[in-house]
Amino acid sequence: MSQAQVQNNEAWIELSAIVGPEHLRPATPEDAVEAVQPIGVIAPGTAQEVAQVLHYCNSAGLTIIPRGGGTQLGLGNRLSKADFVLSLERLDRVIEHAWGDMTVTVEAGCTIDKLQGVLREHGQQLGADPMQPERATVGGVLATAESGTLRIRYGAIRDLVLGVEMALPDGSVIKAGGKVVKNVAGYDLTKLAIGSLGTLGVITRAVFRLHPIPVATASYVATLPTAAEASKLVLAILDSHLVYTGLQIHARRADQVFVHVRFEGIPESLQDQYAKLGRIAGACKFVECAREVWSERQKLFVNPGSSVICKCCVLPSQIGSLCDALFRQAAPAEVAVTLVAQGTGLAEVRLDAAGRQPLMTVLHALRSEVDRLEGTMTVSQCPVAMKDELDVWGTVKDVLPLMQRIKQKFDPGQTLNPGRFVGGI
């Protein structure tokens, strides 16, 4: 379609009437999602406009790709159709920082950095450190249920959200949860929205509970000769009285495995914690290190090229054997491995190799190891073509029909991110 044809199209006219012509523009090649070229990019200014856009597209059989910072649009199964990108860029305000209540109400398009900046003025923070905070938005972080290294102390992002506002394909705007830290009225639809990858509705607003910014922070590293020993050390720390806000294993080689620990609090207590850490660690020495170690996760995603990045969820006690299995498989296949595993049992793995075949070999081996451990493995990033031979989500077995029923109830027309989620939802 030529530009002129596009703009005379009925859908275009309808949509621009909803948001105003200045907020609907033809899509450029930069707006492509995994090489699928959308028609236009629409930027509604209110939740009601988002709902109207969804409603119109739903009835016209057009598909919508919600977009926050656009850092994670490759997540999920291969996309088949993308008519409009719905950008949340205009919904980017921090509505209310009720610092006395330690809560904040924020629009979905607000970036994490901007949000944290506002909270910092009152010495508070959102207890989560998702990747690319300068671009990643509240809505994107919620849609992907991304939390980061602070999760071991503050919980997952789901535990920090008190409520959400969401626009649905039937044109309604719903509110789930609320503004207070305790609330059991009605079903917890916030949990349903979080991690649903924009397949049920578009999150337009969220309320978070907050934490104080600690006075002091210190990070430490210990270097161990095997993953098994590193894993043992992590388990000892988990079983201790130490109050850590980060606990992570980082490895590029099977015989040099780093354990990172972060303490936060008042300076006196940090010294005390460090002394106790020394006693737990025994012979393996912890030394202070730069806080950059907590960006090792994010670094996995730099210059992706043809690499594969996957997320493995196992039990904390299984990290050692997962790590061993990985290096054992990767070496003969000449695949380079970087592993960053949190003490919670969530491990992110990057695989680099010259060709696709060795990557597939290691991925299959990794998946069968994770299956053996009764964990899960999802592929967060890989060359698009690889998605044809790979189920990025893994199998979800007997719960799939229930998930499909839920999708059917909220987005029967498959308007939102069609096909991208588990089992082709």
Binding site: G100, D101, M102, Y187, D188, L315
Partner: protein, 482 residues
């Protein structure tokens, strides 16, 4: 219920699992909210997931409504039987199946009590954090269904934070495993959706949950104030100083009087008492506690007492927990509410409650989780005096509306159940309620699991908050209401 069906159920659960005698059925006619009563047609007490599944398949085939039941301590009528339906009690499924200390996970059957979990892991230095004061009797399944809270949820969060996996039987008889033992299962967060669904999504048959390490040190400070507003200001000041206490509780004059009458905790004789509990590493707790005192004093505290030993702390908490039920000592009848407000609205809402209380000439005692803004206003009255019960109910209703207007919730931990369903439209729009119904119908398309609860039905007559009567376990001294 016809004899053919009864014998079919009997063939599933055996004689030990079937209750059909009129007298025994009465035991199941209500939960902790004793004013609603419905005698069930039949009570089934399965011993395994397979038995639950077989029961549900029959109910599905015959379209018989089912109400799941744990220990029946719920305070909103959640386990109230439904006319013409069966009650499925999970009390016989009470084994702890697996304790995995290195990974801090425990797998239990649904009828295990809340305290049994802590008992199982406490030798290893762990505990199960959500601590409703009914914990000695209430079941984990009941906790999951209500998303129960406790005194320490300001810091530790409520039940939903601790549930990793559920095995459930849906109304069509399918047995599903939601979530798992490791975190972040791909797909929708079905566990998160199920927690707090008050028995309307299906029957829980197994639960995988997380336990946590006990803190190294815990200390509790009592601070005496001349008013609840001053105590409330101290709460805000403590939080503003960057501390994150494990518990922040306020008791007002009436509640203190009641506690004193019941268990003689020997609290300072004051208008409002604030309890501040700090836990964590010993060094940090000691240093921070030194700051809490002066903060309280700057807000008007005129006496401070620190409970350092476990025994001293227990005495403080005993008084706090007793305060609730002890109100019975200073008033013949009372109503319990469970509203939540943003913490900063405390002074205003408390002032407003005072005004309403004067207007209706009824006393209101307040015991609350100040950190969470979870109020438990107790409306005191005497049923024998004509018109008082009516006025008490109006007052309780006004207080709930006040909470919603302040940006809060009509329930922080007790649930909607039968009691508060007519208040749902006060908090939620028609679209919000419709979205909830869609979710419900995805789980239970035939509306067989605990139907008629949680949502205002078309035929629902407007019900008033109902008077509180002591629950049998309270009378037995097993629990105090919080």
């Amino acid at each position: 219920m016809n004899a053919r069906l009864v014998s079919e159920f009997r063939s599933i659960v055996g004689d030990a699992g079937l209750v059909s005698g009129p007298e025994q059925l009465r035991t199941y006619e209500c939960d902790g909210l004793t004013l609603f009563r419905v005698v069930p047609d039949l009570v089934l007490l399965p011993a395994t997931s397979q038995e639950v599944q077989a029961i549900v398949k029959v109910c599905h085939r015959e379209r018989i409504p089912m109400v799941a039941r744990g220990s029946g301590t719920g305070l909103s009528g959640g386990a109230l039987p439904v006319k013409g339906g069966v009650v499925i009690g999970v009390s016989r499924m009470n084994r702890i199946l697996e304790v995995d200390i290195p990974n801090a996970r425990v797998v239990v059957e649904p009828g295990v009590t809340n305290s049994a979990i802590t008992a199982a892991v406490s030798p290893h230095g762990y505990f199960y954090a959500p601590d409703p004061s009914s914990q000695v009797v209430c079941t984990v399944a009941g906790n999951v269904a209500e998303n129960s809270g406790g005194a320490h949820c300001f810091k530790y969060g409520v039940t939903t934070t601790y549930i990793l996996g559920l095995e459930v039987v849906l109304s069509d008889g399918s047995l599903l495993r939601l979530g798992g033992t490791s975190l972040d299962q791909p797909g929708y967060d079905l566990v998160g959706a199920f927690v707090g669904s008050e028995g309307t999504f299906g029957i829980i048959t197994k639960i995988t949950l997380r336990v946590i390490k006990k803190p190294e040190t815990t200390q509790t400070l009592m601070a005496a104030f001349n008013s609840s507003s001053e105590a409330g200001a101290a709460v805000s000041a403590i939080i503003a100083s960057g501390m994150f206490p494990a518990a922040l509780e306020i008791m007002d004059r009436l509640a203190l009087e009641a506690a004193e009458a019941a268990v003689h905790p020997n609290y300072p004789n004051c208008q409002a008492l604030l309890l501040v509990e700090l836990d964590g590493s010993t060094r940090e707790v000691e240093l921070l506690m030194e700051k809490v005192g002066p903060i309280c004093q700057s807000c008007g505290a005129w006496e401070l007492r620190l409970a350092k030993t476990e025994a001293e702390r227990m005495a403080v908490w005993k008084g706090r927990k007793a305060a609730f039920a002890a109100v019975g000592r200073i008033s013949p009848n009372y109503l319990v509410q469970d509203g939540v407000i943003p913490r900063t609205a405390l002074p205003r809402v408390l002032g407003e409650i005072d005004r309403l209380s004067a207007e209706k000439s009824l006393r209101v005692a307040n015991v609350f989780h100040a950190g969470d803004g979870n109020l438990h206003p107790l409306v005191l009255y005497d049923r024998r005096i004509a018109g008082q019960e009516e006025r008490a109910m109006e007052l309780a209703e006004d207080i709930l509306r006040l909470c919603v207007e302040a940006g809060g919730s009509i329930t922080g931990e007790h649930g909607i159940g039968e009691e508060k369903k007519q208040f749902m439209p006060v908090m939620f729009s028609a679209a919000d309620l419709d979205a909830m119904q869609r979710l419900r119908s995805a789980f239970d398309p035939f509306d067989l699991c605990n139907p008629t609860k949680m949502f205002p039905g078309t035929d629902a007559k407007v019900q008033r908050p109902v008077a509180y009567e002591p629950h049998p376990i309270e009378i037995a001294g097993l629990a105090q209401r919080y």
